[in-house]
């Protein structure tokens, strides 16, 4: 893990900032109190419910959580790619490169998309248009944002394909997506995303749909091109193993809210929220070989029927009465700058936490062991 800044610096980046004022110059993307709702037939889904985080220039942040925790919706809200309605951005601010972009007129937003913020999607098989050649699709974006002629756009397309390690790109640009493998197509997506040298690259589960061996290659590629192009990376994944390799900071989401954030090292080695603990527990690892993998018991609550107190309480092994009635806030917990959304880290939970740490110290079960 190459820590991008010192722990203190990161602590600053995730601190609260007053609304309406741009963040510090070193911050590329600053998301504040973001709320996105979906109005559907059965009611309103609060898909993103007050999310705060930021991405430093050239930094890497991982957004982690189970399916439907709101991580993809967060990304799509930042890109403003959601259909409104049914989606509605209810509140919050998104500052990108010193500008609040949720309020930008659509045509200015369009200049950002693909140019300053690029996005890679989960499904390389369906994310490319089947009726155009990959060269056409990359060159289309280059011509749109870089004001170059057709010839140069094609040259740049070839160049970006070369950058992502596609052999003989001159021939490849004339191929259609169906003539390529899934891994190749994801490389094309990355090449397309990087073709205009964006300041921020959002990768939404970029490897989920790929074979395991290809996954490693694509992650390696993302990491190396990110380092080379100095663009910031926001990586969305459900796989803690992936973020461990890739990012400096981790934001863990559950049911539309951030439940824990901190540096990758803090979150992965010293998680403070029971949900994060459960996620880490459920990872297979060498020490636990032979034993049973643990899983977080229960399922994600219905978005129409969220628990009244802590949203994780029904599944939480540490939950007590207060958890079922009180919604916890995101509070400092663990290391510097680390925060968790759990009553254990409030004065009310202090006693329980102390007791818990005692049991753990005396050789008891690891925290977060769900049956």
């Amino acid at each position: 893990m190459t820590a991008q800044g010192s722990v203190e610096e990161i602590a600053v980046t995730i601190a609260e900032r007053p609304a309406g004022t741009p963040p510090d110059e070193s911050i590329l993307l600053d998301v504040r109190g973001l709320q996105t709702h979906f109005h559907v037939m059965d009611g309103t889904v609060r898909a993103v419910d007050g999310v705060n985080f930021s991405v430093p220039r050239g930094g890497t942040v991982g957004l982690v959580g189970e399916s439907a925790c709101g991580k993809s919706v967060t990304a799509l809200t930042i890109m403003r790619l959601l259909d409104i309605p049914p989606a509605e951005i209810v509140g919050g601010e998104v500052w990108f490169d010193g500008t609040e972009i949720l309020g930008l007129p659509e045509d200015e937003m369009r200049h950002l998309r693909g140019n300053d913020i690029a996005m890679i999607f989960q499904e390389p098989l369906t994310s490319l248009n089947p009726v155009f050649t990959v060269g056409d699709q990359i060159a289309e974006q280059v011509r749109l944002h870089m004001k170059v002629d057709k010839k140069e756009a094609i040259d740049r397309s070839i160049e970006s394909l070369r950058l992502v390690g596609i052999p003989s790109p001159e021939q490849r640009i004339k191929q259609y997506p169906h003539e390529m493998s899934g891994g190749m197509r994801q490389r094309v997506m990355i090449a397309m995303a990087l073709s205009c040298e964006p300041k921020l690259l959002i990768a939404d589960e970029p490897t989920t749909a790929l074979d395991v061996t290809i996954q490693a290659q694509i992650l390696e590629l993302l990491k190396s091109v990110q380092a080379r192009t100095k663009s910031a990376l926001m990586l969305i994944t459900h796989d803690l193993g992936v973020v461990a390799e890739m990012v400096d900071e981790i934001v863990v989401m559950y049911a539309g809210q951030i439940v824990e954030q901190g540096t990758a090292e803090q979150v992965l080695t010293a998680p403070t929220d029971p949900y994060t603990m459960g996620l880490i527990e459920s990872l297979p690892n060498v020490e636990k070989r032979g034993g049973r993998l643990s899983a977080i018991k229960g399922v994600v609550p219905s978005p129409f029927n969220l628990p009244p107190g802590c949203r994780f309480a029904p599944r939480c092994p540490y939950a007590w009465d207060a958890c079922r009635t009180t919604s916890p806030e995101l509070v400092p917990a663990g290391g510097p700058g680390q925060r968790a959304r759990c009553l254990l880290h409030t004065p009310a939970g202090a006693a329980r936490r102390a007791a818990m740490l005692d049991t753990a110290a005396s050789g008891g079960a690891t925290a977060g062991q769900g049956a």
């Binding site: 059965d42 399916s67 219905s302 978005p303 129409f304």
Partner: protein
Amino acid sequence: MTQEAKPLSTPTGSSPIDVEADAIPAIGMGVAQPDEAAALRREEAGADYEVALESLNQWQLAWRKFRHHRLALMGLGILGALIAVAIVGPILWPFDFNSIPKPDQIVYQGRPPSLAHPFGETGGLQRDVLNLVINGARTSLFIGFSSMMLGVLIGTIVGSIAGFLGGVLDNVLMRTVDVFLSIPLLFLILVASRVFGNGNVLLIVVIFAFFSWMGISRLVRSLFLSIREREFVEAARAVGVRDRRIIFRHILPNAISPIVVSASLIVAANIIAEAFVSFLGFGVNPIYPTWGNILSNALTFIPLGNWWWPFFPGLMIILTVLAVNFVGDGLRDALDPRTRA
């Protein structure tokens, strides 16, 4: 299926007019966003909806979904009313071929709708258009529905044989279907009605049925091909269930939903086709009122501008076909296990 109504195959499935989850918002229900909701729900895979699970059988479930389909309910209501009129109307107010106008009433010009004759009166014989339409409904609906039933029966049998037995027989039957579907069926219906029909209602029904089974047989065959490979049929065969029992107890019940949906299309198509064939004078004996015959008689009175004469029977055709299509849409959604109640 006959010509007037196209099979309107859609990219996603076999619907008339409308497609997938999109059927409901058609009219007056613009707020709901079923597709996005579905997409969201897909994202929510594995979510716990905490629904109390009642055990409902296929038909209870289907009815529950159908009830929520506003247009389909409306269609069912209209269709029910039309059928009731078609059955009761001619008894209460029969068409009397021999009723001829009294001498003082003989005027060539018809009379526009009035309180006494809400649909107006025809030119020439001064018939009450409402009376004609009611009596025509009986024949037109009878032909539409009974030819559909007979056609579905033929189609199901042919499709079952082709799909279950396969081999050479399958090939021969399906090529025959190809041949039939390569000629505009309306041509064939027209010719057959002319040469065999003789103006006889029952013969017309048989002819229409004979040209309505191809779509169904293709459908049933493909269902057989896909279902017979499924586990439960394998399982049934493994425990020694006989073929006939497999067909009637295991395969056909699964095929009912798509058949019902296509059947609704056939009814609509055949009602229109009957009207057309009668309109040309090749259908039901023109002295008896069917919706097509009424229209046909009206045609010679164009210069007099008796618009109410063709207008009302046509309106009834549209109303019937609309109702049948709505019911078909509702059935499609209700019988599709992928949609929710």
